[in-house]
Symmetry: none
Subunit: 149 residues, 2 copies
DNA sequence: CACAAAATCATACTTTGGTATGAAGGGAAA
DNA sequence: TTTCCCTTCATACCAAAGTATGATTTTGTG
């Protein structure tokens, strides 16, 4: 966490310096502000989106729990006990849900902001714990065990 | 937690100091510009974060919709009409059910006493008709459409 | 019967999935 | 601080899935 914050800080610093540099160069030479302002806007919008998604990623997990409660009304109860018994981690469960949603590994990776390899690792461990060989089997078993709706 | 806050504060402080330093040493003029640029940056960062949050919220909505579909899964009625409408053949439907059961193409081939290639052909046609690319998606869609329990 | 729709299979490829193994870093608890 | 678990990622390799195309055989229906 320390390093993350540090890296964020440094990144922001570098960004600012770059902007300053741009400001100096373009402003002095061309006096064209439109491009400059536009660039800043786009850049910081992207930074903002990125930061927003990154920061809210963990909140999505909470959302998932809320969904679980919602489903409860339609007689689905997340079998958290079994989840612990099988030592299925939070991330693995997340991947499981997305697999059940019909997503490919690549799509899951994009959605969770991790690499394809990471998704493969998660799903592979998941399959071990569920004692299955394929994702379709995993979905079947997980549904029957009440691990997913 | 205190440590994190402290480090974060120090990082920000260093950043600010760096910026001030740069400001005075390299870019000596146009403090008005600085303020302007800073305002834009902050503004669009916030816009970005807001956009990011918006995007995240839409995902929640999708999840809720999936939950809604769940309710109908208990009493299942085969939607034969739709089956004909999509011109899904008997064999294709059979394959679909086995796919949903988590079987591999090879296992399906063995169970139906046909070759692996035949199963591939059937499933491929099926995916076309269901407008999906993968078996997991096919299962999801077929269930929501009432083509399989 | 004739004709169309289904069902079967093959060959050849491309894309995903899944396994094995090793490794690095963060977080939480002892 | 050290240890353990979780998460992340990489590389390499093999298996399964899916696509494209073309061909032959059944089968049901007018």
């Amino acid at each position: 966490m320390k390093k993350k914050i540090l890296i964020y800080g440094i990144a922001l610093g570098l960004l600012t310096i770059t902007l300053k540099f741009l400001e100096y160069k373009i402003f002095i030479k061309d006096h064209v502000m439109d491009f400059y302002v536009g660039a800043i806007a786009v850049l910081f919008t992207m930074v903002g989106i990125w930061a927003g998604l990154k920061l809210t990623r963990k909140k999505e997990v909470i959302v998932v729990k809320e969904v679980a409660v919602l489903v409860d009304r339609n007689n689905f109860v997340l079998n958290e006990n079994l989840l612990k018994q099988l030592s299925i981690s939070k991330r693995e469960h997340e991947v499981l849900e997305l697999i059940a949603g019909g997503l490919s590994n690549q799509e899951i990776a994009d959605k969770l902001f991790v690499s394809l390899n990471t998704v493969k690792t998660h799903s592979s461990r998941l399959f071990e714990k569920l004692e299955v060989n394929r994702r379709t089997q995993a979905v079947e078993k997980a549904k029957s065990l009440g691990l997913i709706p």
